[in-house]
């Protein structure tokens, strides 16, 4: 996998845009692993199925992927691999090279093969070897890494030279360095982690689980430098309760998990709702039910996340669509959680979390930290009769933090009066429920409306939420090329639900398409619940793979043109 990453980075450094996607089974070694790198000069938002250059470290890879090769595409593979007559289309260029041989000569064969192939690929696309060497040094370098970096560079050089020496430059795809803004190669997890750090998250807990493990690791790696307490407790129940305790005590806190772990957090979710503790919760989806397909992608948890936990309490749910949105919505999430003293759930998925792409560094302007109504000791001293859960217009009451003189109270998920005392009186119950739920009215006013992309005057609407943004945007380009001008309604802030805007867009649509990475069109259901409108056509995919733009394009076109 590292080779794919290095290749991507080398392209990014040369000013190119990159979109990567990984596929790997829930195994540690062996099994079939894919690192898909897409490179263009223009901005990219999605992976595609087609492959120009296939680097195959074994025969299986050729068998599985030769069908994806474009006309004039190429395969780089080990010279020992025998391809039978007609096994590969005649238009495909073949580059058998001594991957194994060179690799073995230089070091641990399995690892070095990647580097030989990497060098060969750079040669094939006629790109900059020095850049490759530099990125390799950065990646493998560090304290003990010198040697490793040297060996890998040597291996890459061997592959590079072999291509130069043995093949004519017939491969039709070239990459060249362009002058451009410097771009990060970043995935959703990294974007959220950086946002959390920037937002002043001081307490982060998680239990390992694909696809958020790398976020946990990112936080752990940076915890010391940024003074963030990062802990991996005994289970997810502990994860969320520990974070609830830290947040109650005043630290901005976040947890991350996937569906299975979220299931275990559901009880505490209601508790923090009832006790009015701010918390940011990341739910990185993967295909269910249950353990399902742990290393693949899906958007199957929407309704679950919207309604998890017994009883009724306010929550905010946000599903960003790309790393930049991951950054901004995560910053937002911390502010909303604090200002409204409620749980904010960020929803991502394996595809968004782990697909790296190039992006310019995030714009930090206008990104503030708002902690909402937290008392000071002075305020408390001036308050005769401090009531933690005093009903207010907005439903938000003044929070005191343990340690503050005069703010003593009990926070609890059991029904309570304004002071936090247990109370089961009917009138009090209504008052406290109303107070809590009222927050949603206020929060709804400040949440951004869903964005509409593309031809605003079109009456063909594609609706999507969260991570399908990229594939849909790309599909729109295909449609446009085909004469179909569509607009795209992208839902990011999902709860409270932006019913008015959605209804308005749907009402002005002649044809509407719901694109969802699940089987039951969950968002279409939510839309109908809140607007009464039915999105006309569902484009659904639930095989663990993300959407490819052409699938959306095909489905829309077929419906519009009838073929």
């Amino acid at each position: 996998m590292t080779a794919g990453y290095i290749f991507s980075k080398v392209c990014a450094r040369g000013g190119l845009n990159v979109f990567t996607a990984t596929e790997y089974p829930s195994l540690i070694r062996g099994g079939h692993n894919i690192y898909h790198v897409r490179v263009e000069e223009r901005e990219l938002t999605s992976p595609i199925v087609l492959v120009d250059l296939l680097v195959a470290l074994n025969k299986e890879t050729i068998d599985l992927h030769k069908g994806e090769l474009t006309h004039g595409g190429a395969i780089v593979y080990d010279e020992g691999t025998k391809l039978g007559e007609g096994e590969v289309r005649p238009d495909v260029l073949l580059y058998p090279i001594p991957l194994q041989k060179y690799a073995r000569e230089i070091g641990e064969a399995n690892v070095m093969m990647n580097s030989v192939a990497l060098g060969a690929s750079v040669a094939l696309v006629d790109y900059d070897f020095d850049l490759l060497a530099r990125v390799m040094r950065e990646t493998f370098g560090g304290k003990k890494g010198e040697e490793i970096a040297d060996a890998n560079t040597k291996a890459a050089r061997a592959g590079y030279d072999y291509i130069r020496e043995h093949f004519k430059p017939t491969f039709g795809h070239r990459l060249r360095r362009v002058e451009a803004l410097r771009r990060m190669l970043i995935n959703g997890n990294e974007a959220m982690a950086i946002a959390a750090i920037r937002a002043g998250c001081k307490f982060f807990t998680a239990y390992p689980m694909t696809p958020i493990s790398s976020l946990l690791q990112y936080m752990a790696a940076n915890g010391r430098a940024y003074n963030i307490v990062v802990k991996q407790p005994e289970d997810e129940i502990s994860v969320i309760n520990t974070a609830a305790g830290a947040s109650f005590a005043g630290a901005r806190s976040m947890v991350a998990t996937s569906g299975g772990g979220f299931s275990l957090m559901v009880e505490a979710l209601g508790m923090i709702g009832g006790a009015e503790v701010p918390l940011v919760i990341l739910e990185g989806q993967r295909p269910g039910p249950s353990t399902g397909m742990p290393t693949w992608t899906e958007q199957g948890d929407l309704k679950f996340v919207l309604s998890a936990s017994q009883g009724e309490f306010p929550r905010v749910v946000i599903a960003p669509g790309d790393p930049a949105e991951c950054f901004h919505t995560t910053m937002d999430a911390f502010n909303i959680a604090d200002k409204y003293q409620l749980p904010v759930i960020l929803v991502s998925d394996k595809y968004l979390a782990e697909s790296a792409r190039t992006m310019v560094p995030f714009d930090e302007r206008g990104v503030g930290i708002e902690r909402g109504a937290i008392a000071t000791e002075d305020v408390l001293a001036a308050t005769k009769d401090y009531r933690r859960y005093r009903p207010t217009d907005s439903g938000v009451s003044l929070r005191s933090l343990p340690g503050q003189r005069g703010g003593e109270h009990v926070a609890t998920g059991e029904e309570h009066d304004e002071y936090g005392n247990l109370e089961e009186d009917a009138e009090n119950r209504r008052r406290q429920m109303d107070k809590r739920m009222r927050k949603l009215e206020y929060v709804a006013r400040e949440l951004p409306e869903p964005k509409v992309y593309g031809a605003g005057d079109s009456d063909i609407t594609i609706v999507g939420w969260g991570s399908t943004k990229g594939p849909i945007l790309e599909a729109m380009r295909y449609l446009e090329a085909d004469g179909i001008r569509a607009r795209f309604l992208h839902l990011v802030y999902l709860s409270p639900f932006p019913a008015a805007k959605v209804a308005q867009v749907l009402d002005s649509s002649r044809a509407s398409f719901m694109v969802e990475n699940n089987k039951t069109a969950q968002m279409a259901g939510v839309i109908r619940e809140y607007t009464g409108r039915k999105v006309q056509h569902n484009i659904l995919k639930y095989d663990g793979r993300p959407f490819y733009p052409h699938e959306i394009y095909d489905a829309v076109r077929r419906t519009i043109h009838g073929h």
């Binding site: 407790p233 005994e234 305790g245 947040s247 630290a251 343990p402 003593e408 936090g420 005392n421 247990l422």
Partner: protein
């Protein structure tokens, strides 16, 4: 000056008359007073159960969370503000049933807090079902023919799990219990107290009488630092049942010691403004 009454709330507890929880309540207030703590310096975290209602009746900060989950909440709060004195109160169902895993892991983590289980050998708030400490054969609403299971031994488990302070108290001996709480709070690390708490309504086996006939207080001659002896003592049951500090290990670093992020001051006091993420973004360029 703080006194026991400093910790009184406007409301008074509504446990059943005669309930052992009152003894624990008094002991807690006595202990806090004798430690010279002020209400705002203390956080009491509890789960759900009769025992779990404690924070409502001791004027300090309180967090009355989920059944079985007070320990994680407490550990989070302690890490966020380690200047707080953190007390955790639960029931035997809460702590040894639903919350068993947190208990074992808290012991090995050695967070600097005091964990007190009011052990009445029954699920009282839900009106009388078997608990992990109910004796074998205990007839309850959910075990009408007697519990088929061997009860756990919380003290043995705590030692085995790595707790550095393991003690047993009895709500019938309030002053002794108060002293144990004081010792527990003073101990640097995770202090665990299993407290015999008669439930006068649902446990007709382990009554005041039953306890009074059996318990004795460990004297000076008992050395709680020897683990093998501590295990032996912790297994002592039957006609004579020891109260007091069963095991103690000093000097082990606490969870907070092991968290360099808070070495210079509580997490909650760290400034959030101006955090520079440029280096992070640069790494990705």
């Amino acid at each position: 000056m703080v006194t026991k009454e400093t910790f009184d709330t406007k409301l008074s507890p509504h446990w059943c008359p005669g309930c052992g929880d009152y003894g624990a309540w008094r002991a807690t207030k006595m202990a806090l007073a004798s430690l010279g703590l002020e209400p705002h310096q203390v956080l009491i975290v509890s789960g759900i159960g009769n025992a779990g209602k404690m924070p409502h009746w001791v004027r300090t900060y309180g967090f009355h969370g989920l059944h079985g989950r007070p320990l994680p909440v407490a550990q989070g709060a302690k890490l966020a503000n380690h200047e707080l004195t953190v007390l955790v109160v639960g029931g035997d169902g809460d702590g040894y049933g639903e919350g068993m895993s947190h208990f074992i892991h808290a012991c090995r983590r050695n967070s600097d807090m005091t964990y007190m289980i009011l052990n009445n050998g029954v699920y009282a708030l839900t009106t009388g079902q078997v608990s992990p400490t109910s004796e074998k054969g205990f007839v309850s609403k959910s075990t009408p023919e007697g519990s088929p299971e061997t009860p756990i031994n919380p003290l043995v488990l705590a030692i085995a799990a790595g707790a550095t302070f393991v003690a047993r108290g009895y709500t019938g001996k309030t002053e002794h219990l108060a002293k144990l709480i004081v010792e527990g709070v003073r101990h640097r690390g995770f202090a665990f107290l299993d407290v015999f708490q008669p439930c006068v309504v649902f446990n007709k086996v382990n009554t005041y009488k039953w306890y009074n006939e059996r318990v004795y207080t460990l004297g000076k001659e008992y050395d709680p630092t020897d683990r093998a002896r501590a295990f032996q003592k912790a297994y002592e049951w039957g006609d004579r049942i020891p109260l007091g500090v069963i095991y103690r290990e000093e000097g082990k670093p606490t969870m907070e010691d092991e968290t360099p992020q808070i070495a210079k001051g509580p997490l909650v006091r760290q400034p959030l403004k101006g955090i520079d993420i440029k280096p992070l973004m640069e790494q990705l360029l």
